[in-house]
């Protein structure tokens, strides 16, 4: 089980919240991918071995690219990482026969490091808004977060602002019961912004520390639903200045390149403070989160690794990078 204290800042102890990196856009030309695919560098399927790396060997570079692309990192982020490694080689930091794996993991971790951050719960109450496309794990994550907040002695109200999907409120109610959080809901088809408002009201009235607002899944190209989300945010902000203090975009690790578009469009409707990357307990590597962190500078804050209350972790760039390449933990 993860130490819940590592997930949050503003608990009273000192925490370091770093700025997101302002990476320059990666080089445009993707040489090997473009020219070299014909050579069959077979069946790594995302598994980079700790092989002795020969920077002179084109096939070795190809394998690397392949692993990153198969992890959904996308072309621009892959270009960037490979570029960094090449610069390392040029600077003499990676010699023939060297173990490639740690170097690569380091570069990835480095790319992500600035994007590592904690959930700030220093406000009274702190309002956290969960958003994302359908089925990514928003409701489950609200449940897990409520539980982890409880473990650091924060009292929680969960607000069921998904008034649309069948049985969404019952699902959240079940999590609230498990995590011993207060539940605020409304009738099916009710106004989601009003539920968020009521959630804050309840927290203020009862002196609760954190309000977790669960919203309905929505695809980012549905303008009406994105407007609704913007309205939820406005109403929250109208009720409490500075709120929502965190707006977390929940991304499923199986997501492909569309994840970037999700992050872009959701951040237009409501500025994002972080990503929760769920379902990392499966075969998907979640490289899209790296692409998002690289291209948009949105930090990854939490990861989901299962379906029970326990299965939430603070994001750790180093172990994510190693897992991305199938290396296991360092």
């Amino acid at each position: 089980m993860a130490d819940p204290h590592q997930m949050f800042s503003g608990l009273g102890d000192v925490t370091v919240a770093e700025e997101a990196p302002q990476d320059e856009q990666g080089g445009g030309f993707f040489r090997r991918l473009v020219d070299g695919l014909s050579k069959s560098s077979k069946a790594l399927s995302g598994q980079i071995q700790s092989i002795a790396f020969d920077p002179e060997d084109e096939a070795a570079w190809e394998q690397l690219e392949e692993a990153l692309l198969l992890a959904d990192c996308g072309v621009p982020a892959t270009v960037e990482i490979i570029g960094r490694l090449e610069r390392r080689v040029a600077a003499g930091g990676l010699t023939p026969g060297a173990d490639l794996a740690p170097a690569l993991a380091e570069e990835i971790a480095d790319l992500l490091a600035g994007a590592e951050a904690r959930i700030d719960v220093s406000h009274q109450p702190t309002v956290i808004l969960m958003v994302g496309v359908n089925g990514t794990g928003k409701t489950t994550t609200v449940g897990k977060l409520a539980e982890h907040l409880r473990r650091v002695d924060k009292s929680v109200v969960v607000a069921a602002a998904d008034t649309f999907r069948a049985a969404a409120d019952e699902q959240l109610q079940a999590w609230a019961d498990r995590a011993e959080a207060d539940f605020v809901g409304s009738a099916h088809g009710g106004d989601p912004a009003a539920v968020a408002y009521d959630g804050i009201e309840a927290a203020v009235a009862r002196g609760r520390d954190v309000v977790l607002v669960d919203t309905a899944g929505r695809l980012q190209n549905q303008v009406g639903l994105m407007d609704e989300l913007a309205k939820i945010r406005r109403v929250i902000n109208g009720r409490m200045e500075g709120a929502p203090h965190e707006t977390l975009l929940v991304i499923d690790a199986t997501t492909g390149q569309n994840g970037l578009q999700q992050a872009r469009v959701f951040s237009e409707a409501t500025p994002l403070t972080g990503i929760v990357l769920t379902k990392l307990d499966g075969t998907a590597k979640g490289g899209i989160a790296l692409a998002i962190a690289f291209e948009l500078g949105v930090p990854i804050k939490l990861i989901g690794v299962g379906e029970s209350l326990d299965d939430l972790r603070p994001f750790d760039a180093g172990s994510f990078a190693r897992a991305l390449l199938g290396l296991g933990t360092a």
Binding site: N134, Q171, T255, G256, G259, G287
Partner: protein
């Protein structure tokens, strides 16, 4: 954002109109663009490799048709090959059996429960008597969700709470279906990861118990490279017979569907395009091919338009247009039927080439609301005879609809333009365009 393959190839190959064969250089440049386009569309890396090899081979021998640029010729080859690859195999749901059993499985959050409701409704429309079985005993309120969905679809849901083992629930469900004379049962299962051995074993046991006539894997259109691992693992465990591609109302390219199709050989049977229960459609390989290549989805748009445009109204409109009697009421109708198709941004996104220009231009849906408000503030007489609307009436209408007089003027001007355009159509002999006019839709749509 993503450029369409045609745009990419256009710039890679220039306009160079080499008649005759595609040169080796042309082809290599084109293959590079195709690889990148397919990767951006989430087609699996390995599938991209073999697919590009096929395309290259065909392109090498290809003649460039008179009417096409080399780039267009390549796009055509790619599109053909994609369509061919995705189109083979039986796409009909297997509904023969007593009862027929459809087992629905997939990862968490892929859309299984909603899809079950949609399938039930679709099958009922075909004159069958379906029932649903609730085997997801794990996710909180999953059963409640299926019960709600079943009620919306008007189909019974057999459930036994969360305490019973899913295999037993399935067994009893089939039993009950037989007793109640249901001829198709749809089994909703919990989402599961393929690394979860216990749950995969459970799925195998459910399969062995219900002996499905059709086993469907639900695949989210947004899935990336992992689609292939997941599909292969499900195939190894339960050898599914069809794919359902969900959330195609989003803007993901859907390349994962191609990967899974290519790697497993299993056909895509249906697709789903929204959260409402009737948003389930037949699969058209050519449309998905266009989508993967970023070429817009004109056919789907036309189909949607046909679905939402009332045929009688359309005929009435045609008559009015011919007689030059088109009034503001008709314009309002037009506006509303277009809006029923979905947000304008999503409608426009289906048009080839438009996606790119409009990627940032957000269509102002609020403006459409204002247009409606303006027309609704007019008297019926004014609507059918807009000539009546003089200066003071404009001021009244503006006040009534909460807009400026300038906006009222702009609307009236737009109306005049439309009317003029219609006169041109009505003068000609050609068939009247099928699509509702009235909005400034790009020319691709008109006629």
């Amino acid at each position: 954002m993503l450029d369409s393959l045609s745009d990419r190839l256009g710039s890679a190959l220039g306009d160079l109109r080499s008649s005759g064969r595609l040169s080796e250089d042309d082809i290599n440049a084109a293959m590079r663009e195709i690889r990148l386009a397919l990767l951006e569309a989430d087609v699996n890396f390995d599938v991209v490799k073999s697919f590009v090899a096929t395309v290259k081979e065909r392109a090498l021998g290809a003649e460039v048709s008179e009417s096409l640029t080399p780039g267009q010729e390549v796009v055509k080859i790619v599109h053909d090959e994609l369509t061919k690859l995705m189109g083979e195999g039986n796409t009909k749901l297997e509904l023969n059996g007593s009862p027929a059993v459809i087992l629905v499985c997939g990862l968490q959050g892929s859309g299984k429960t909603t899809t079950c409701g949609k399938l039930a409704k679709l099958i009922e429309k075909q004159g069958k008597r379906p029932a649903l079985i609730a085997c997801d005993v794990y996710r909180p309120a999953a059963i409640a969700q299926l019960v709600t969905v079943g009620a919306q679809a008007g189909v019974p849901v057999y459930e036994h709470g969360t305490e019973m083992n899913p295999v037993e629930i399935a067994r009893r469900g089939i039993q009950q279906a037989k007793e109640e004379g249901r001829d198709v049962v749809i089994v909703d299962t919990a989402g599961r990861l393929t690394v979860d051995k216990d749950l995969m074993d459970e799925l195998v046991r459910i399969r062995n118990e219900v002996k499905p006539t059709d086993t469907l894997l639900v695949l989210d259109a947004m899935t990336g490279q992992d689609a292939v691992n997941t599909a292969q693992n499900f195939q190894a465990a339960i050898d599914f017979s069809g794919l359902i591609l969900t959330k195609l109302d989003g803007d993901a390219r859907g390349g994962a569907a191609l990967s899974v199709r290519a790697i497993t050989g299993v056909p895509i049977k249906v697709i789903t395009t929204g959260e409402k229960l009737d948003q389930i459609e037949e699969f058209h390989p050519d449309r998905l091919a266009s989508r993967i290549l970023g070429m817009g989805d004109v056919l789907s748009l036309i189909e949607r338009a046909e679905q939402f445009v009332d045929k009688d109204k359309a005929e009435e409109l045609e008559r009015k247009m011919r007689k030059n009697e088109f009034g503001l009421d008709d314009m309002l109708d037009q506006l509303r039927s277009i809006r029923k198709m979905g947000s304008l941004t999503s409608v426009l996104g289906m048009l080839p080439g438009v996606g790119k220009q409009l990627k940032n231009a957000k269509v102002d849906e609020g403006q459409l609301d204002r247009v409606e408000a303006i027309i609704l503030s007019m008297t019926p007489a004014e609507r059918s005879n807009p000539k009546l609307i003089n200066g003071s009436r404009r001021v009244r209408i503006a006040a009534g609809s909460g807009v400026s007089v300038t906006e009222v003027n702009a609307l009236l001007k737009q109306y005049e333009q439309m009317k003029k355009m219609m006169k041109t159509f009505a003068g000609g002999k050609g068939k009247m365009p099928k699509l509702p006019k009235g909005m400034e839709l790009p020319p691709e749509l008109q006629g």
